[in-house]
Symmetry: C2
Subunit: 212 residues, 2 copies
Amino acid sequence: MTTAQASGETRPGGRTARTRQAVLAAVFEELGEGGFAALTMEKIAQRSGIHLATLYRRWRGVEGLVCDLLTGLSADVPLPDTGTLPEDLRVLSRAIAVFYRDDRRRSLIEAVVSAAVRDPQAATLLRTFFAERSELYGRLVTRAVERGEVPADTDPEQVMAALGAPFYYRLLIARGAVDPALAESTATAVWAAVRAGAYKKADTADGTHDGR
Amino acid sequence: MTTAQASGETRPGGRTARTRQAVLAAVFEELGEGGFAALTMEKIAQRSGIHLATLYRRWRGVEGLVCDLLTGLSADVPLPDTGTLPEDLRVLSRAIAVFYRDDRRRSLIEAVVSAAVRDPQAATLLRTFFAERSELYGRLVTRAVERGEVPADTDPEQVMAALGAPFYYRLLIARGAVDPALAESTATAVWAAVRAGAYKKADTADGTHDGR
DNA sequence: AGGTTAACGCGAGCAACTTCGCGTTAATCG
DNA sequence: CGATTAACGCGAAGTTGCTCGCGTTAACCT
């Protein structure tokens, strides 16, 4: 009891981090070849060189793996700031389209959505992940409100959901390619809808919008 | 060889149809309680009273079951015809929202999307199913074009995709309830976008738009 | 440097899912 | 009405996926 490390300490440095990186890299590459359907624990073990039992111990299964990969997916898409909302929307929309041109990223989203249907833990992760993104990119809208470009009670999160929705419809339902045309039409549509006041706050609840 | 029924004939009448109906009903109810995650072949066998081996023989697995159920899902949503496109869009949007208030329907869509990620056959089914629906409800837009309400080269299928997208985003990504507010904002947004000409045909291809 | 103990490698063992062969039931037709 | 044969019921066998116990490696601390 003289030592400080005592009982159940976690040990994140060195080897642990290295195996994690190797495994997640293997998952990402494997997703590129055959998608989630072909994603077997055994294949990942082979490709990463990490033993099968270790994978099950740390990640429980393929659901856990893709979830971990999603959280580690850095926000490669920068926050646009062109000065006007329609341009910001267009830039962001194009960036999303480019983002999903990569089969590995596309398959990753498919995988997490599929996992979320089966596993409540994955569902929570997915929800919070996109909520954070919506909040982050919602700054575009907040700035536009401050500039007086759009109605003052425009809800940034609704706008960002509207911007993303067509892409995920294309990915998951229509199951077609995410092409530049989709990016353009989506940006145009959202801008028109925002101007028309389609995304006002508290459509369902009444009152108490902050008077700041 | 004198008989006409000869070799490998299928036999759709009577018992076969009855078991199919019993099984699909069991799947539908089971989806209501616990969703796709809790959908086990054995549970369906118990609830429907059909033997496990029969289920595997006819449907291969849970993916096949939910796919069959989707195709049998009759179009309960009628085609609106109020006289103006914005009203038609609003009525249809509300109908979709009501449609997905039923947990069984919601879980069914989740299940098929999840299955489509894993099974190419389910993916094809999903794509064609929604393509047919888009084509069907696209008549709303075609009529509006004929009335001169919207730009002549408005693409009906794009409009219908735009109308559906926010609901599936809510269902699959945000994983929240489909509330009336979503229906209203979606209808308003799509109408504004259509007026702004966001959904013109052949954004990606050049030239040769038909001169009628 | 040396001790302690997470984290990993390894193979066997367990459990759930899926399929197979055969006998039985009930559509379909002469 | 009687013959034929899909489709189904039944239990057992086969396969896959996952877990467990134990020995080994290498971080972390003094």
